[in-house]
């Protein structure tokens, strides 16, 4: 069979993988943003105990590989009686990983607000909460947009690791097909194209967004 026929035949399977990759990424990214936001707020306001817990979580999560986090969830947790399906493991793992990256992104944004801004806020008598609400958060969120954009791309790419626990996303689909039909060139080609279709437009959109936010709040 020629390559185009091979590719054409595989497209329905890739389509399923494509949708699954998008779906898992979407849930993972939303979850990561929520977890990251909570952690960065706990750290910003230095909520006793909880902020130390958040810090420990962030350090563990961002200093260990997703693959081992997934193995732990999928293979080791059942031993102590906690059992999830593969896809749920994937989502939990991705959020566990992404939460710390997002937390670092938000915290970086909050810390990036200049000292002069904080002092002007204090000088007009703003309370700590008002300073956060009117000065630090609005500016900090704009400052964290580039990091958020990088994290979103990163997390989508990380879903390729889901293949190790046999979640039938894009990479897993390609590897399965290669295993069955030995046409690695064709299937890898489709795989790369599929990631390109997701990531190229997304990174263009995110770059535009960064420029816009930057202009919106700082004018250059």
């Amino acid at each position: 069979m020629n390559s185009w026929a091979i590719i054409q035949q595989s497209l329905p399977m890739f389509e399923k993988g494509f949708v699954l990759t998008l779906w898992l990424s979407f849930i993972g990214i939303i979850g990561s943003i929520i977890v990251g936001l909570i952690c960065s707020l706990l750290q910003y306001f230095k909520i006793p105990i909880l902020h130390q817990i958040a810090t420990v979580y962030v350090e563990i999560s961002r200093n260990t590989p997703l693959l081992i986090q997934l193995f732990f969830l999928y293979y080791a947790f059942p031993v102590i009686g906690i059992k999830f399906g593969a896809q749920l493991c994937g989502i939990i793992g991705l959020i566990f990983l992404g939460g710390s990256y997002m937390a670092e992104g938000f915290t970086g944004g909050f810390n990036g607000v200049s000292k002069g801004q904080l002092e002007s806020g204090k000088a007009i008598g703003l309370s700590q909460w008002q300073l956060a609400r009117y000065v630090v958060f609005p500016q900090g969120f704009s400052l964290s947009v580039p990091a958020m954009a990088a994290n979103i791309i990163f997390l989508i790419k990380e879903t390729s690791i889901f293949t190790v626990i046999a979640i039938p996303e894009l990479t897993n689909t390609a590897l399965d097909l290669i295993g069955m039909y030995y046409r690695s060139n064709e299937y890898l080609f489709v795989l790369v194209v599929a990631y390109a279709i997701i990531l190229i437009p997304l990174s263009i959109i995110l770059t535009l967004l960064e420029k816009r936010v930057r202009y919106g709040s700082f004018g250059n």
């Binding site: 002069g116 002007s120 007009i124 309370s127 009117y134 700082f218």
Partner: protein
């Protein structure tokens, strides 16, 4: 004797181990304009920033309107509503329009009604000649315009006392005059009490009732303005004036 609005007694400040302010003592009467002069690095900005709690100090007391300040963040927050401060880098909030920059303090901190605060803000904008810029964002303004807005932002809280920290130092020369005129007008028309840190000697001479001369974190002299610029008490101050080509 005039009312003392501010008294500073035996103030000491360290950055970690570095001693930056030594036994600072002075007071400011209501309606008085005091300028802080001295070579760069003498501690002028540090001192003025201690006066509204932006810099912690290690020893001594600050008494504001007859009450000795207990230096907690919460207390300072209350006091800062009565002390307006304007910085060298203007630092308008880039995420807010000009009018929202001005209204933030009156409406959120002092809980004034939005309409009353807005009417007042517009009046102040007119006074500095920028009423057309109410809905602009800071990025659309020149440095001089930003600094005038920063002054309005501080005035909107009806402070009893103003601190100006080298407010013209980052401005292009042609912008300086406009900003200085506003400060002068505040002193002359409103009889505003103020402490001004500046390198503009002519301006200092025009506006000041009294000069505090600082060097290496110490107040070397406190002299009525007229006398200071004619014949200061210390040689160091004379050298300083000479070096400023004054």
């Amino acid at each position: 004797m005039a009312d003392k609005i501010l008294q500073v007694a035996h103030l000491e400040k360290y950055y970690q181990k570095r001693h930056v302010l030594y036994d600072i003592n002075f007071s400011v009467d209501k309606g008085e304009v005091v300028t802080l002069l001295g070579p760069s690095g003498s501690g002028k900005s540090t001192l003025i920033r201690c006066l509204n709690g932006l810099e912690p100090y290690q020893n001594g007391t600050i008494t504001f309107e007859e009450e000795t300040v207990t230096p907690t963040e919460k207390n300072w927050q209350q006091i800062r509503q009565k002390i307006g401060m304007v910085f060298q880098s203007y630092d308008l909030f880039p995420n807010l329009t000009v009018i929202d920059n001005i209204l933030l303090g009156p409406t959120k901190v002092q809980k004034q009604s939005k309409d009353a605060a807005r009417a007042e803000a517009v009046k102040l904008l007119k006074r500095v000649g920028l009423e057309d810029y109410a809905d602009s964002y800071p990025r659309m303004l020149s440095g001089g315009q930003k600094q005038r807005i920063a002054i309005v932002r501080a005035l909107a809280l009806h402070p009893d006392f103003m601190l100006f920290d080298e407010v013209t130092a980052s401005l292009d020369p042609e912008m300086v005059r406009g900003v200085l005129n506003i400060i002068k007008d505040l002193a002359n028309t409103d009889n505003m009490t103020m402490i001004v840190v500046t390198h503009e000697m002519n301006f200092a001479q025009e506006i000041a009732d009294r000069v505090l001369f600082l060097e290496n974190g110490k107040i070397l002299e406190q002299t009525p303005s007229k006398q200071f610029f004619e014949k200061p008490q210390t040689d160091r101050a004379q050298e300083f004036l000479d070096s400023m080509d004054f």
